[in-house]
């Protein structure tokens, strides 16, 4: 049994130690907001936070997540939407929406470290793939969220 802290709640799981965090979240803990996209840390659909840092959960063995604070898309808001989520709605970002949990997790972590985002900074920090091509709106939404967070 491995003991995990996910979205502030402690839980134990009975899985092999090499099981990726992604599949523990999705199949064991039933938090399906985190998506499977490539399995090789190339697309970012599975991005979650470990101790506030963005990681690609498809490539993190669960043994490495023991003793950390794991946050998923389901755990970033306290019931009200975050500034990032609101900006995503205001800019009408998602199309199919499948990559957006990962995008929002990556953008949230980026804005926490970089409250005044730059286009170059965004390009460097957020390398997730969106097949629908929502990138121009993602960029606008990150700037909008930053502005809103600065005013709050």
């Amino acid at each position: 049994m491995l003991s995990l802290t996910i979205n502030g709640k402690k839980t134990t799981v009975d899985v092999e130690e090499d099981t990726p965090l992604l599949w523990v979240l999705r199949d064991t803990v039933k938090l399906t907001g985190t998506k499977f996209g490539c399995g090789v840390a190339a697309c970012g659909a599975c991005t979650v936070h470990i101790n506030g840092e963005p990681v690609r959960s498809c490539s993190v063995p669960i043994s490495d997540a023991v003793g950390t604070k794991i946050t998923t898309i389901e755990g970033i808001s306290d019931g009200n939407l975050t500034a990032v989520q609101e900006a995503w709605i205001d800019e009408q970002v998602p199309q199919c929406g499948y990559c957006q949990s990962g995008m929002i997790m990556a953008a949230t972590a980026y804005l926490k470290e970089n409250p005044t985002p730059t286009d170059e900074g965004i390009d460097e920090a957020i390398t997730n793939i969106c097949r629908c091509g929502s990138y121009p709106r993602i960029r606008k939404a990150i700037h909008r969220a930053a502005k809103q967070m600065a005013e709050a």
């Binding site: 199949d27 985190t34 190339a42 097949r131 091509g133 990138y135």
Partner: protein, 754 residues
């Protein structure tokens, strides 16, 4: 002949309709009232007023939507059509996947692809168009594709809203013993104008549902519309920002098992032997299943199933295609193009004679590779098979076909098939295919009574797709002394997507037939050319090819708009002005080009190292023009700086969605132009996953400026038409900047990095 089992509700039509379209079994239609299928889905206190609208006594309105939501915003745009005439707020309509019934047919998709209906998109009521609509109605195929959703729903959805509204008004008028004409409906309430009496739709629905469904109700004139034409926030977006939206891959059912597969890497290969006992003791493994093309492991979690199937010893019989390569395929295209074979899709004047007599002939060869769809949500299907029925949860674009093949694979009566279509994490044509449902049902049949969720890995997806065909084109062109096109000869060699698709469903119907999609955007170009011959040389291959966003347009636009640019430079004319000269008889194409010239500041020169390219292309009844600005240096580092996009799609339903679809299609096409290549070696796909099948990301995504320029043309589609022009616009910009002409995609093959 091996056919799918015939049931009393179906028969099959053979070859005649195969060319350019679907050849499938037809549902003979329902003898019951059109709302019968929806009525069967009502809960207590809920009433179906017609095939599309259910209202309960609390006034909650459910809209049975026949189309799948895959990001194109169809839940919102179709709800807008309905709400406009039903006289309710958009927010009070909840879309729900429609049941399977002939009334939900996508006749536009068939009218677009089947022959004989020419002219319908110009609004012509030809006998051919009428006939095709009848045939489409009999086929009764519910499908989402071909940029057809709004075009197909435009009239039925508004009529459904109008009819339901009139029934609710009539119910109120009867109740109050007044004439309907004295009552008015607004925001879900009927009001008697003189007395001020009101009743909500919820209060009226039971009485309304007992009324006759009225005949034709006239629709609102355009200037009275309150919802259509004004940007509305997408109704599916809130659940797509908090992780709560449910995609196929998220389906979770009691006692559900998980499956992963290992497939023969060579197309057409089969399993020769396996040792399933080797993995049965691995953690969580429930069962191993062997089928024709591969093996599956069913386990209690996906990860355990995947690990076990990777460890499962299998040998494959690679079959007759084990030596197939992209190199050999292009050699075959070369040979085909050099032959006398070909099926002509445009033939006017004396192109070949003009070319043979000319002093100067401009010639070129263009090539594009196979492409995978790579939807973000990997392929998946969940199936629960019991002795006499099957239930399927699958993100799909072709509900009717999926249900038929679930029935066939499970071997159960047609009426015992239940299909759920959750959100699609991308579609792009990939989810029109039946392979996943057949595989999932075949696997789940070995574990009857338990739902089994089959998920493909990204590697499965990239290596076992139905690919956008590779294709090659040869051009010869001549100019008049005043620098206009005199003759244009274009030959394309590629496999036919329609033939490949049909063969997958009905192997016996495999035959060489005309397929408009092979010549779309090549035979029917808007340019005024007196001497033109466009031919397609069918080149059947053992690589399965499928419908990939914009289908034949995706390569033909690259060919024709690249060569059009070459002709412009050869004529020493400005590429935009050259195009204008050749569309002077078409006010709509002219208007798109003029708008593009203005918004892109076309006439202002760019500095050294930068270039502008243009492409103009009509597809799915919409005209799209794009100007691309690029920067490129001597090391071939390229930056796509900005894309200006002008679209004329006729009447616009949700303007922001049209813009989003333009952005989407451009970036989709740009990934292909810059990096997209599926290579075949030893009968198998070389690429595996995103690291070697790369995509545009934030860092190399251009700024995109979209302008809507509706000219009053009939409705056009928006899901695909922005994809075709982007690749030629980019190579034309590279030429403008460097005088290097790229005639083969992707650019990465020529050393460019973005």
């Amino acid at each position: 002949m091996a056919l799918m089992k015939l049931t009393r509700r179906k028969f099959l039509i053979a070859g005649g309709l195969v060319g350019g379209g679907l050849a499938v079994g037809f549902g003979l239609g329902d003898d019951g009232p059109e709302n019968a299928a929806l009525q069967a889905t009502t809960s207590s206190g809920e009433f179906a007023l017609n095939a599309w609208i259910k209202i309960n006594k609390s006034g909650e309105i459910t809209f049975a939507i026949p189309q799948a939501e895959m990001g194109q915003g169809v839940y919102t745009s179709l709800s807008m059509l309905l709400a406009e005439e039903l006289e309710v707020e958009l927010s009070s309509v909840t879309p729900e996947m429609a049941p399977l019934a002939p009334v939900y047919v996508n006749s536009t998709a068939l009218m677009d692809t089947l022959p004989f209906s020419d002219g319908h998109h110009q609004g012509e009521a030809t006998i051919g168009a009428w006939g095709m609509k009848k045939i489409a109605g009999m086929l009764g195929v519910q499908a989402t594709g071909g940029s057809t959703s709004v075009r197909n729903a435009w009239e039925p959805m508004q009529k459904a809203g109008a009819i339901a509204r009139e029934m609710l008004v009539s119910a109120a008028a009867e109740e109050w013993n007044v004439s309907s004409s004295e009552c008015v409906a607004s925001k879900g309430t009927v009001t008697h104008k003189s007395s001020g009496k009101t009743a909500s739709y919820g209060e009226l629905v039971e009485a309304a549902s007992a009324l006759e469904i009225p005949d034709d109700i006239p629709l609102k004139p355009a200037n009275a519309r309150k919802i259509i034409g004004k940007s509305q926030p997408r109704i599916d977006i809130p659940e797509k920002v908090d992780g709560s939206a449910v995609y196929g891959v998220d389906i979770d059912l009691p006692n559900m098992a998980h499956a992963a597969v290992k497939l023969c890497p060579v197309f057409g290969g089969t399993v020769a032997s396996w040792d399933d006992k080797a993995i049965l003791n691995m953690p969580g493994v429930i069962k191993a299943v062997r089928f024709d093309t591969g093996v599956a492991v069913i386990a209690d979690s996906f990860w355990r199933a995947k690990k076990a199937v990777e460890a499962l010893p299998v040998t494959f019989d690679e079959g007759p295609n084990a030596a197939l390569s992209s190199e050999a395929i292009f050699a075959e295209f070369e040979q085909q193009l050099a032959s006398d074979e070909g099926r002509s899709y445009a033939d006017r004047g004396e192109a070949l004679e003009k070319i043979s007599q000319a002093d100067t002939v401009i010639s070129a060869t263009y090539k594009v590779p196979f492409l995978a769809h790579a939807c973000m949500e990997p392929m998946n299907c969940t199936a629960l098979v019991s002795d006499n029925d099957v239930e399927v949860w699958m993100p799909n674009q072709a509900q009717t076909l999926i249900a038929w093949f679930a029935e066939k694979a499970a071997d159960v009566p047609a009426e015992n098939v239940k299909l759920h279509t959750p959100y699609l994490g991308g579609g792009f044509g990939r989810r029109l295919e039946i392979d996943l449902v057949v595989m999932a049902v075949t696997i789940a049949k070995e574990l009857k009574g338990r739902p089994v969720k089959l998920i493909w890995t990204r590697e499965n997806d990239v290596q076992h797709d139905m690919y956008r065909p590779a294709a090659q084109a040869s051009f010869k062109g001549t100019l008049t002394s005043s620098g206009e096109i005199d003759a244009w000869n274009h030959r394309v060699a590629s496999p036919s997507v329609t033939r490949s698709f049909t063969k997958r469903m009905l192997p016996w119907a495999d035959s060489d037939m005309p397929d408009n999609s092979t010549a779309d955007g090549a035979g029917n170009i808007p340019y005024q050319i007196s001497n033109m011959l466009m031919e397609h040389v069918p080149t059947p291959l053992e690589i399965p090819v499928g419908y990939w966003r914009s289908v034949g347009h995706s390569y033909n636009a690259f060919f024709t708009e690249g060569f059009m640019d070459e002709m412009a430079w050869a004529a020493k004319k400005d590429p935009l002005e050259f195009r204008l000269d050749h569309v002077s008889e078409h006010t709509d194409f002219t208007a798109v080009l003029q708008k593009l010239k203005e918004v892109s500041d076309w006439s202002t020169p760019l500095p050294e190292g930068r270039g502008r390219g243009i492409a103009l292309h009509e597809s799915f009844k919409s005209i799209v023009g794009q100007v691309v600005e690029i920067s490129v240096n001597k090391d071939k580092e390229i930056s796509i700086d900005k894309v200006f996009c002008v679209i004329d799609c006729g009447t616009v339903v949700n303007p922001d969605t049209v813009k989003a679809q333009m952005e989407s299609g451009i970036i989709f096409g740009l990934s292909a132009a810059l990096f997209g290549e599926i290579t075949i070696e030893k009968g198998r796909v070389v690429q595996e996953n995103f690291p070697d099948y790369d995509m545009v990301r934030l860092n190399n995504c251009p700024e995109i400026e979209v302008h809507l320029a509706p000219s009053g043309r009939p409705l056009g589609g928006v899901g695909e038409p922005s994809t075709p022009p982007i690749a030629p616009a980019v190579v034309n910009a590279i030429f403008a900047a460097t005088k290097t002409r790229i005639r083969e995609l992707p650019l990465s093959k020529h050393g460019y990095t973005a």
